[in-house]
């Protein structure tokens, strides 16, 4: 029996610019099963990032509900939403978004600082996460001492270190060469298969999307 983890119900998003309001997402409805690997594709400006941000709880829909594990996250207060994100969502960004002044270890440890884990428990988890992405020997390196692919792998370690149910990735291979991109995709695939993470990935790259089980296309704010 499959379980629905994310349920998007009649979601619309508008941005108001001056008196003009731009409709970015129009009445979107779909479900994501637990353990799915979903790719969101579509032309630039079609609303992929916006939709991903809504699912990740860093943006609010203008209309509609986003129900994750049974609760409507649009109803949470900013503080509870932040706590919810720290427990349930792992983020992977196109430009990695590592903190430049922190080492690989410290970057991965960052989300654990929001938990009650002790220092030694955090250390264990960070080391495990970094070894999963194959960077156990790079813990003390700063982001600028790493290649793009390695940075993205550190970011993946940071995304999984809190053991969230959902991982959102916005063009995770968009800034990488072919080999690094392949490594990153293999990792995402393993997170999905071995660690049962539900993954939502925005991508322009058809070969990246081919790793996903389901591909959804957005076109000017509509699912097609």
């Amino acid at each position: 029996m499959e379980k629905i983890i994310i349920s998007i119900e009649n979601v619309s998003k508008e941005y108001k610019r001056d008196s003009l309001s731009i409709s970015v997402l129009n009445n979107i409805t779909f479900d994501v099963q637990e353990g799915d690997f979903l790719a969101l594709m579509g032309p630039s400006g079609s609303g992929k990032t916006t939709l991903l941000n809504l699912i990740a709880g860093i943006d609010q829909p203008t209309v509609g509900k986003i129900i994750i594990n049974g609760n409507d996250i649009a109803k949470l207060s900013a503080t509870s939403l932040a706590k919810w994100r720290s427990e349930n969502v792992g983020f992977i960004f196109q430009f990695y978004n590592l903190i430049p002044v922190l080492t690989a270890f410290e970057n991965v440890e960052l989300p654990l600082l929001l938990t009650k884990l002790s220092k030694s428990e955090r250390k264990k988890r960070v080391e495990l996460a970094l070894s999963i992405v194959g960077l156990g020997d790079r813990m003390d390196h700063y982001p600028k001492q790493l290649s793009g692919g390695q940075e993205q792998r550190v970011a993946i370690a940071r995304a999984v270190v809190t053991d969230p149910a959902i991982i959102v990735a916005d063009e995770p291979t968009g800034d990488l060469d072919k080999n690094s991109a392949a490594e990153v995709l293999t990792l995402l695939d393993r997170l999905n298969k071995e660690m049962k993470k539900t993954i939502i990935m925005v991508t322009h790259d058809p070969s990246a999307a081919s790793k996903a089980h389901i591909i959804k296309h957005l076109e000017k704010g509509d699912l097609v």
Partner: protein, 389 residues
């Protein structure tokens, strides 16, 4: 949970120059602020140490300094008979009836200034035990001789051992240099009271009378005498120490107020500097802030992180400025005291109060300078912060 401290500290390292300049700006303000308070406190301390706690000084009530006070000879004689006046082994009152006048002398580096000349009576040594001759000999009573405080010797021309000083048309010889370890007396010239009265044709009207109390606990009794005895009604007794401390009030407050006004104006510059630095620090890290917020850090954690950053800059500036001001403790300044209209040498003096005031001042600069940038950082919208590059 808060943003890790190492994150804040290491961001300084990546912006050494701007952080350094901001710290320097704050430390300069702290330095000036501390220097002013040290000066104000130095004057107070110098004048307070001038007087003794067991001496009483009598001056005319209406006078606001020694030179404008007049006490007639018969009043002096009456004061001598008061039972509260201490007596020496020869049963003589330990009392000095002192004419105080002002003369002009040339400053070594150019210009003129006023100097207090004090005529003293026989028992001046008994009355002011802090006085030490460091050169020459004491003046002879009955002769036109002077001893000069060491600060005067240092700053003025023609006030050295053997010099002749012109007072009221006559030449007086400097026969000794004395020190009172940095009290206001170091900036005075002393001679025989009777000779001075004679030179100025003042008859026997002195300026003030200072005597040792036979018993300190009898001071209130003495005050009662001055309130009830008809001949003494126009005069007021004060503990010598308090008298001189009050003489510092105007100058000390003047420097403090003027100095504070100036440093507050300076501090606007430093605060704007801190604010610009902090705004730049926020602007450089918009995407980092967005990322941390996405990971679940709260607005208030971001606010705290940037406020902490600003406070660290301010406290570093405070430490640096305070260390710099320590260099002043060995400096002496000599200037005209508005209360006595004559030269007074004093040092820069540091106290725990001053250190705390300058810390508070630095912290206020840090808070004011950091607040708006920190609020801006905390208010960033996550989605737009993540879109920034």
């Amino acid at each position: 949970m808060t943003v890790p401290f190492s994150y804040i500290i290491r961001n300084f390292k990546s912006r050494k120059l701007t952080t350094g300049i901001t710290v320097l700006g704050i430390s300069m303000v702290v330095f000036v602020f501390t220097a002013v308070l040290m000066m104000s406190f130095g004057i107070k301390k110098t004048l307070k140490s001038t007087g003794s706690a067991d001496n009483v000084k009598i001056a005319r009530k209406s006078a606001n300094g020694e030179i404008s006070s007049i006490i007639e000879g018969d009043i002096v004689n009456f004061i001598k008979t008061l039972p509260q006046v201490a007596k020496d082994s020869k049963n003589q009152a330990i009392l000095s009836a002192e004419p105080v006048v002002i003369i002009n002398l040339d400053i070594k580096t150019g210009g003129l200034s006023n100097i207090t000349v004090r005529g003293v009576s026989d028992s001046y040594g008994e009355l002011r035990k802090q006085i030490k001759l460091i050169q020459g000999r004491p003046f002879t009573f009955g002769a036109r001789e002077l001893i000069v405080g060491e600060a005067i010797d240092r700053k003025f021309k023609g006030a050295q051992l053997g010099s002749k000083v012109k007072i009221a048309g006559d030449y007086w010889t400097v026969v000794g240099i004395f020190s009172t370890d940095g009290t206001g007396f170091d900036s005075e010239v002393w001679g025989d009271a009777l000779q001075l009265l004679n030179a100025f044709n003042r008859g026997n009207a002195v300026s003030t009378v200072t005597f040792k109390l036979a018993d300190i606990s009898k001071y209130n009794e003495l005050k009662q005498v001055f309130k009830s005895e008809r001949r003494l009604l126009q005069f007021e007794p004060k503990i010598e120490q308090i008298y001189y401390e009050e003489q510092s009030e105007f100058m000390s407050s003047f420097i403090k107020i003027l100095g504070t006004v100036i440093t507050v104006i300076f501090s606007f510059g430093a605060m704007i500097g801190a604010m610009i630095t902090m705004y730049a620090s926020v602007a450089n890290r918009v995407r980092e802030i967005g990322t941390m917020r996405a990971l679940g850090f709260l607005r208030r954690s971001i606010l705290t992180a940037f406020m902490t950053e600003s406070l660290i800059i301010a406290i570093a500036g405070w430490i640096f400025g305070t260390l710099l001001s320590l260099l002043l403790t060995s400096q002496k300044v000599s200037t005209l005291n508005f209360n006595s209209f004559s030269e007074l040498e004093f040092g820069f003096s540091l106290s725990p109060d001053i250190i705390i005031s300058s810390l508070v001042f630095a912290v206020v600069m840090g808070i004011v300078g950091g607040f708006l940038p920190a609020v801006r950082a905390a208010r960033l919208n996550i989605v737009s912060a993540l879109r920034a590059n």
